[in-house]
């Protein structure tokens, strides 16, 4: 603040100096002209006029210097002097309207006025529509308990008095102007507010706040000049307080909305978890029942009929069922911890599809299923987790295999839809198809039409596609088969395979060595 004052002062000095120089030059010149044409009573030479010019400018400069020095002295050592107070108050007044934070605004006002005027205490009360009363929002020089009791009803006589005066009122003056009954009520209100002065904070003709001031610490009254400055401050405070209050309530409403939204999301997540939990229990208890049942059958048989072949058969079942249970938990983990999945990288869809086909090729050849793939030559890379994308295509291809059973064709088509920045992967099967009303249900967790199936495959696939910012849809008709269409976004700046390879920055790992040697 003092820096600002010093700069102010220097600029003023410079301006004064310039002005005084110009004035003295003008005076000197006009004297010279007068002397030349009409003759003066005293002899005037250029030297004389120069001397005059120097004297005048020196005097003006010195006086402005002294004025400035005095000012800065007053500002520095007498901060509570009336000049200083009004200067600071007017400075703050102009700043108020730009403060939208409610707490910042009210604290700035009360603290500044409290410090500048060296008051015993100060409080700012703001009108509350719900309770039709003025409630203290901030104070200085009061204890917390005193502050919490500070309020005034909207229909208090003091408010009516303020409304008719619409300016700062001083207790002792106002009481004299009222009848003795009213005076006693108003003086009681002043006592409740612990103040001698009350300033209304107005906005559009309404009193939206009260600035309540006590006497100064040295028991002196406020000066007239100080009261005028305070009125200027409260005039600015009105619109600022209105804005900040509006902002505050908007913030509150917004926070409530955000809370409600996150609660809803949590509820949705919980119900998905509940659905999953019931499913997990069911799907894990079945393999466990088989494991424990088979083992109990052997145990309870005793030694009478135990042959090696029977034991091998039971043990094989136990191993298979353990695998089945483990598989369920592994798939579930993908849903439970989506954040833990490896970082995104650029992935070639073609090589993932090739890997997947090689994985299922044995089963496919047993079932007499043919896989046809039509992949455009410069399909761009997509961004995602390799594990997830593999899981996605494995699930979809396994789903098609199961839909076909034996003998059929799976057609995989990969297309780049350049105008939408998407890659479309269609996986069509010649299986039994899905009735139209079930095409939404199939993505539910644990939805399955098969006895030996968990029903998580399509659910997990949908989760993966959603995480990648894509979409998955199914077109199907019973008897003719189903087409699963997966749309995945192409990362920006990558339009073709070749540019894709050149984009690798240090943080974008190169895709794993994806050998295209499968098939």
């Amino acid at each position: 603040m003092h820096h600002g004052l010093k700069r102010d002062f220097l600029i003023r000095c410079a301006i004064l100096l310039c002005v005084s120089m110009i004035i003295s030059v003008l005076i000197g010149l006009s004297l010279l002209i007068l002397d030349r044409f009409s003759g003066l009573a005293f002899p005037l030479s250029i030297v004389n006029s120069m001397l005059l010019f120097a004297t005048v400018s020196f005097t003006v400069a010195t006086s402005s210097l002294i004025y400035g020095l005095l000012r800065s002295f007053v500002y520095r050592y007498l901060p509570s002097s009336p000049i200083c107070v009004s200067h600071e108050l007017s400075k703050i007044s102009s700043k108020l309207i730009s403060i939208l934070d409610f707490n910042e605004l009210v604290n700035l006002v009360t603290n500044t006025v409290y410090d500048l005027l060296a008051l015993k205490n100060i409080a700012l009360l703001v009108y509350n529509k719900d309770s039709n009363s003025y409630i203290c929002v901030t104070s200085a020089g009061l204890s917390i308990t005193e502050m919490s009791h500070l309020s005034l009803e909207g229909d208090d006589l003091l408010i009516a008095t303020l409304r008719s005066n619409s300016t700062c009122i001083y207790r002792d003056t106002i009481i004299k102007s009222l009848s003795w009954q009213d005076a006693s009520i108003v003086s009681h209100s002043f006592a409740r507010l612990r103040s001698l002065y009350v300033l209304p904070v107005m906005y559009e003709g309404q009193i939206i706040g009260l600035l309540c001031l006590s006497a100064k610490k040295n028991e002196k009254r406020l000066l007239r000049k100080e009261i005028v400055s305070l009125q200027g401050l409260s005039a600015h405070l009105g619109p600022a307080l209105h804005n900040a209050t509006t902002m505050n309530s908007l913030k509150k409403i917004n926070n409530e909305l955000v809370d409600t939204q996150s609660q809803l999301l949590q509820t949705a997540k919980m119900s998905a978890l509940e659905k999953l939990a019931a499913g997990i229990a069911h799907e894990i208890h079945n393999p466990l029942t088989i494991i424990s049942g088979k083992a109990q059958v052997l145990l309870l048989k005793g030694e009478k009929k135990l042959d090696a072949q029977k034991v091998t058969e039971v043990l094989t079942t136990i191993v298979q069922q353990t695998k089945r249970a483990a598989d369920i938990t592994r798939r579930l983990l993908m849903f439970a911890k989506p954040q833990q999945i490896e970082t995104k990288r650029l992935i070639s869809i073609e090589s993932v599809i090739n890997d997947t086909i090689s994985l299922v090729s044995y089963q496919v050849s047993l079932d007499e299923i043919r896989i046809v793939k039509i992949i455009e030559s410069n399909t761009p890379f997509i961004a995602g987790s390799l594990l997830e994308v593999r899981e996605l295509f494995l699930n979809l291809i396994l789903n098609s295999i199961q839909a076909i059973g034996t003998q059929g064709v799976i057609t995989i088509v990969v297309k780049h839809i350049e105008k939408d920045g998407l890659v479309k992967i269609s996986i069509a099967d010649t299986g039994k198809g899905i009735p139209k009303e079930k095409t939404v249900d199939i993505f539910d967790p644990f939805y399955t039409t098969k006895v030996d199936c968990v029903g998580l495959g399509l659910f997990v696939s949908q989760q993966i596609v959603n995480r990648m910012g894509g979409a998955i849809k199914v077109d199907s008709a019973p008897g003719t088969g189903s087409v699963f269409n997966v749309l995945l976004p192409v990362p920006l700046r990558i339009t073709s395979r070749h540019s894709g390879e050149s984009v690798h920055s240090p943080d974008q790992r190169v895709p794993l060595q994806e050998n295209n040697s499968t098939k």
């Binding site: 019931a278 229990a281 069911h282 799907e283 208890h285 079945n286 466990l288 029942t289 088989i290 494991i291 424990s292 049942g293 088979k294 109990q296 059958v297 309870l300 048989k301 079942t317 069922q321 399955t448 039409t449 006895v451």
Partner: protein, 122 residues
């Protein structure tokens, strides 16, 4: 002692298999069904005395079968077997007249004891 006729209903074939083996070893006349539909057919044709009935099955589930059985063949003892113990399902089963409600994984010794108790009451 005449062999007691028993029907085991579960959509898991492996579960039917070991239960059949276990109870056959203990002189029961056991047949199995892997769906609600099949169960209703076999009940009509084989007239079992006791039913081990899985609750969760695709299509006609255990609760539906129980309702049907208790309406048409109230003398058949029904033991419900479930992987998940959901209170509402359990309540419904007991309301419909299930004779017991047990959860997987199964204790075969307990199951045998329970089955014998139910048959003794016939």
């Amino acid at each position: 002692m005449p062999m007691s006729k028993m029907l085991i209903v579960d959509d898991e074939r492996e579960i039917c298999d070991f239960l059949k083996e276990f109870f056959s070893d203990r002189e029961f006349d056991v047949s199995t069904a892997s769906s609600g539909e099949e169960a209703l057919h076999k009940i009509a044709s084989e007239n079992p005395k006791i039913l081990l009935l899985d609750v969760t099955m695709p299509g006609i589930d255990g609760i539906d079968v129980l309702r049907e059985v208790k309406e048409r063949y109230p003398y058949i003892k029904v033991i419900m077997v479930t992987a998940v113990e959901t209170p509402d399902k359990m309540e419904e089963a007991l309301r419909l007249g299930a004779d017991n409600y047990i959860t997987k994984p199964l204790s075969l010794e307990y199951l045998e004891k329970d089955v014998r108790e139910k048959i003794a009451k016939l």
